[in-house]
């Protein structure tokens, strides 16, 4: 089975000669259709650089990215762009404060020519409802929404484009824990319902455990390990992975119970 999205010997450097930085160094990985691949690493490990190359924000220095076996060019066409969408970390800045929520979600529809112009508001509203927001929210300004609601809007924006891959760049790290759990559940449901493929960038291993099928661990631009989520947590191969897992704060049984109860209460 060929992977939906894959990179071969992907390389990205910033700066010149003396101050040359290898942000992403020789990364080859495959993302299968329908899976959630988590990319884990500390700040500066090249996670976001990798995401930006997948999205075509800037070209790679060398190596190649393929989607469905087809190599993606440095200058992406709209067809390529439509296939890979982004949900950003900070929902405060990812929505334009001076445009309505609906206008932000609708942008992709207009750019890719999805649906007839007269139908696009309806599609926008459907996308909002899909992420659990009332359709009437489309006329609201982002400032009238909470952090969790804004992140839902950002997810709706990616959904409305009917993309195949969604790059989630720390989508929950700016949210508080309860909201975080709800957004994760939403993402998980959407993936199963719509057969989406996720590239989930995060530094939070507890999130990884909940949502990812496979995990790729990055350290200083190099992918040090890539394996199934369970195997990674049970038998980490690389010493860096071990130190990452060891750094996760331990939660006692009692705390776990309290957390579950709270989560259930809030979802009622």
């Amino acid at each position: 089975m060929t992977a939906l999205l894959s990179t071969r010997n992907l390389h990205k450097t910033f700066g010149k000669k003396r101050s040359l930085v290898h942000a992403v160094n020789n990364v080859s990985l495959d993302v299968q259709a329908g899976e959630c691949l988590a990319i884990v690493g500390e700040s500066g490990s090249g996670k976001t650089t990798l995401a930006n190359m997948l999205l075509g924000v800037y070209p790679q220095t060398s190596g190649e990215i393929t989607l469905d076996g087809q190599q993606l060019p440095a200058r992406r066409t709209l067809v390529h762009r439509r296939a890979i969408q982004l949900v950003q970390q900070n929902p405060l800045s990812s929505l334009n404060p001076r445009r309505s929520v609906g206008a932000s979600v609708r942008l992709g529809l207009d750019v890719y020519g999805i649906g007839k112009p007269s139908e696009r508001w309806r599609i926008t509203e459907a996308a909002l409802e899909e992420v659990g927001l009332p359709a009437a929210f489309r006329k609201r300004s982002p400032s009238a929404l909470s952090g969790g609601q804004r992140q839902r809007v950002a997810i709706a924006r990616a959904l409305a484009c009917q993309s195949r891959v969604v790059v989630l760049d720390e989508p929950t790290s700016a949210l508080d824990v309860l909201v975080q759990a709800r957004v994760l559940r939403l993402l998980d449901r959407l993936r199963r319902d719509k057969g989406l493929t996720y590239v989930f960038i995060t530094h939070d291993l507890s999130v990884v455990r909940n949502i990812a099928d496979r995990v790729a661990v990055f350290n200083a631009g190099v992918m040090v390990e890539c394996s199934d989520t369970r195997r990674l947590f049970e038998a980490p191969q690389h010493s860096y992975t071990r130190s990452l897992i060891a750094a996760v704060p331990v939660v006692t049984e009692a705390e776990m119970q309290l957390r579950n109860t709270l989560a259930e209460e809030s979802s009622k």
Partner: protein
């Protein structure tokens, strides 16, 4: 928008500004109906009433050829406002476009546009206007062209700064990832976020343009007689101080009222719109 207006009208100082500016605009627009002597805007001579102190017949007195000062001030407002609007209407779009592209695109575009801006900014507007008048005919049109040429760089710099910081915001990245055109990103995403700053500056600048226009005609370089202009009225009257004080004081006050009004509104807008961001 509505909220801005409400806050503007609640603060006594900005309310005063709004009232002053409204008064000036109403006087200028309806000058033909309000002025007691509409024909005095031109070359009229009335030696019976020349150089009269303020009285019931002439609220602000008459000038040296017997024209009603109040009427002439009203017509002068019309010209001042027109000048302000013309200068801003031409220079603001140029400056905004230059700043927007420089701020969003960066690189060579930024270098060329912003260094050009710096060159223009290094010449004081009044000095350039005077120099241009030395070469060209000292007409109102030429004076305004000179001021316009010197005015746009301020907007370019203002919008450039806002656009450069907005360009780092997530919503610009989101639009780029979707593949929206540069046109869309500049005008639909970034520009709306620059507008509060631009509108505030435009309000403040109305006052400055009125002062510059008055300064030019004070120096005899702007509006030519017999067209009424606040600056040239002050200049003419200054020779007859302190005896015929009304010749200078009323046109001077008229300038003050208009500039003060626009500045009050501008200051209030700066606070309101700045706080929103």
């Amino acid at each position: 928008m509505k909220r801005t207006l409400i806050i503007l009208l609640r603060n006594p100082l900005s309310l005063l500004g709004v009232l002053l500016v409204l008064m000036v605009i109403v006087l200028a627009v309806f000058a033909d109906f309000i002025a007691p002597f509409p024909d005095h805007k031109g070359a009229v001579v009335d030696f019976v009433y020349f150089n009269q102190a303020p009285s019931d017949r002439n609220l602000m007195g008459t000038d040296l050829v017997g024209r009603d000062l109040f009427s002439r001030i009203i017509y002068a407002y019309r010209i001042s406002l027109m000048l302000g609007v013309v200068v801003l209407v031409i220079s603001v779009p140029i400056g905004v476009l230059a700043g927007l592209f420089a701020g969003y695109r960066g690189g060579k575009t930024e270098f060329v546009l912003m260094r050009l801006t710096d060159v223009f900014l290094s010449i004081p507007p009044l000095v350039l206007a005077i120099a241009m008048m030395g070469v060209l005919e000292p007409t109102l049109l030429n004076a305004m062209l000179a001021v316009t040429a010197m005015w746009w760089p301020w907007y370019a710099r203002l919008v450039y700064n806002v656009a450069r910081s907005e360009r780092e915001e997530g919503y610009v990245l989101a639009a780029e990832v979707i593949g929206a055109s540069q046109w869309h990103i500049c005008f639909r995403e970034i520009l709306p976020n620059c507008l509060p700053a631009v509108i505030t500056k435009m309000t403040l600048d109305m006052g400055f343009v009125i002062i510059i226009a008055s300064s030019l005609s004070f120096l005899g370089l702007g509006v030519q007689p017999p067209t009424p202009d606040l600056g040239s009225m002050v200049a003419e009257g200054a020779r007859y101080l302190p005896d015929s004080w009304w010749l200078t004081v009323f046109p001077g006050l008229a300038i003050l009222v208009a500039v003060f009004g626009f500045n009050l509104i501008g200051d209030a807008l700066r606070e309101i719109l700045g706080a929103e961001q």
